[in-house]
């Protein structure tokens, strides 16, 4: 539920540094569970840049919609094209097939990102 190699935001995105200045971004298991069945993911175009915390897309479930906020300053390199036809991948595999964008990180990682342990503590506080 909380892979150790990821960084997390307080609003339930994850960021996976790939070690080469790029990273994958998605939403957490907790987020997909709270949203329920995902039916559409609205993502930006490659080449667009977003600041730390800036909205870069939305994820729509049957019952609600949630903003996607960029975990750290970054430029979009690629979006996960399979989500257009298979948005359910976000529910089924939020840390794998359900990734949303691949980005080039700009500068240092945001200081407010959480490690797995801190994020788990946050989620456990929210669900009680």
């Amino acid at each position: 539920m909380f892979p150790a190699d990821l960084k997390y935001t307080k609003d339930h995105e994850w960021l996976k540094p790939m070690g080469d200045g790029t990273a994958l971004v998605g939403i957490t298991h907790y987020a997909q569970d709270a949203l329920g069945d995902v039916v559409f993911v609205d993502l930006p175009e490659a080449g667009e840049s977003f600041g730390h915390g800036e909205e870069f897309g939305t994820v729509e479930s049957v019952k609600t919609v949630s903003e996607l906020n960029m975990p750290s300053d970054a430029e979009i390199l690629e979006v996960n094209g399979t989500l257009a036809d298979h948005p359910e991948a976000v529910n089924e595999d939020p840390y794998g097939k359900g990734w949303m964008v691949k980005v080039r990180l700009k500068g240092a990682l945001a200081a407010d990102l959480l490690d797995a342990k801190a994020y788990e503590a946050l989620v456990s506080a929210e669900s009680h």
Binding site: D33, D42, E60, S61, V62, V65, A125, E126
Partner: protein, 371 residues
């Protein structure tokens, strides 16, 4: 997230929902299942193609009985109660003098002078006070049976097949919007062929203390046939596809019965009832707004409840309910728009997070079951 500690009301099935790993939400002060692990899409699909079982014990039940009962219910509701046979149900409303809604409800005729009024959970206390207040001087008793009553709804094309083996009461002869009394799995029930999903099905009312046993018996009988427990999430998408009104959305105390498209429950020629004068006047003048169904044209444009309907940058109406439709596969919704725009095929715009997107007015209901 810090939450204010409020004691939510619980139905007799609360422990059963938790045992099924339901996701629970605060629904009008009630701790209710929004979905079970199968999810809203699977539960919705089950109701349309097989069957789903809902806990609707939060609904309110008010019994009106005595020599003045018929006169009181006629006075309180716009539909023609005198036309109801014993054993028949109809959809109706409580209206204010100005024709807007106190609530919508079902009226069950239990006897010549005995009626069971089934009202929305969130309005239950207000409704009971409303009925009591108008009952003064009427020769009848008004009893709030809500706390003593459990209710489950078995909905879907397999409902008869699942329920019949559990009861000696022949189900086939019970027509749509009729009811009878009988035993289901040895439990005394009011068996009503009604629902809020657009499918065939039954609503079963029983003593609160029997609800869990009834739920378990129906679940056990239906499981091999594909029955799923179904939460409020799919209840909303199911009723929306059929354009069934939800209080606080399509109807409330600012919207009157005619603009809500509910002229069919307003029998202006039946005689006096609360709201009649206002609705007579409204009928005589052209209605300024109308409830319409719409679909957005792009897959990414998903309208939601309460979003503005706009024209030339100005708000001209509002969305009452909207969602991606699991059965129709389109993003649809209901909205109040100026009458001159309320034409099938016409275009309106919905403001979604600051962006005005195109939508087309389409016929309703969006979904109608094949009979």
């Amino acid at each position: 997230m810090s939450t204010i500690a409020v004691e939510l009301k619980k139905t007799p099935l609360n422990a059963a929902h938790r045992a099924l790993n339901a996701k629970m939400v605060d629904f009008g002060g009630w701790d209710m299942p929004v979905q079970y692990p199968a999810g809203i899409l699977a539960e919705h699909e089950a109701v349309r193609t097989k069957a789903g079982l809902f806990d609707v014990s939060h609904m309110g039940e008010i019994r009106v009985k005595g020599p003045g009962a018929l006169a009181l219910v006629e006075h309180l509701t716009p539909n023609d109660v005198s036309k109801l046979a014993i054993g028949q149900v109809h959809y109706t409303a409580f209206l204010y003098e100005n024709g807007t809604f106190v609530d919508d409800l079902l009226v069950y005729r239990e006897g010549e002078q005995e009626f069971l009024l089934v009202v929305n959970a969130g309005n239950s206390d207000k409704d009971f006070a409303w009925v009591q207040q108008h009952a003064k001087g009427n020769d009848c008793t008004v009893v709030n049976e809500s706390p003593a009553t459990g209710q489950i709804a078995l909905q879907g094309p397999l409902a008869v097949g699942i329920l019949q083996p559990l009861t000696k009461t022949p189900l086939d002869p019970i027509g749509y919007y009729f009811f009878t009394h009988g035993e289901v799995a040895g439990i005394k029930c009011l068996i009503s062929r009604t629902g809020y999903t657009g499918e065939d099905g039954f609503e079963l009312y029983c003593a609160a203390g029997d609800t869990e046993q009834l739920w378990n018996a129906v679940m056990a009988a239906g499981k091999p046939k594909g029955l799923l427990p179904a939460g409020l999430g799919c209840r909303n998408t199911l009723r929306l596809e059929c354009k069934m009104a939800l209080y606080g959305h399509e109807i409330d105390d600012t919207i009157h019965a005619l603009e809500a498209g509910l002229a069919w429950i307003v029998k202006l020629d039946k005689g006096e009832f609360i709201g009649r004068d206002a609705l007579l006047a409204a009928k005589a003048a052209p209605a300024p707004r109308k409830l319409v169904g719409f679909k957005t044209l792009e897959k990414r444009d998903i309208a939601r409840d309460h979003m503005p309907v706009v024209h030339d940058g100005k708000q001209i109406g509002f969305v009452t309910s909207a969602a991606p439709s699991p059965t129709c596969g389109i993003n649809l919704g209901l909205a109040y728009v100026p009458t001159e725009l309320a034409k099938t095929g016409g275009r309106i715009q919905i403001e979604i997070r600051g962006r005005a997107v195109d939508a087309e007015i389409i016929p309703t209901p969006f979904y109608k079951r094949q009979k």
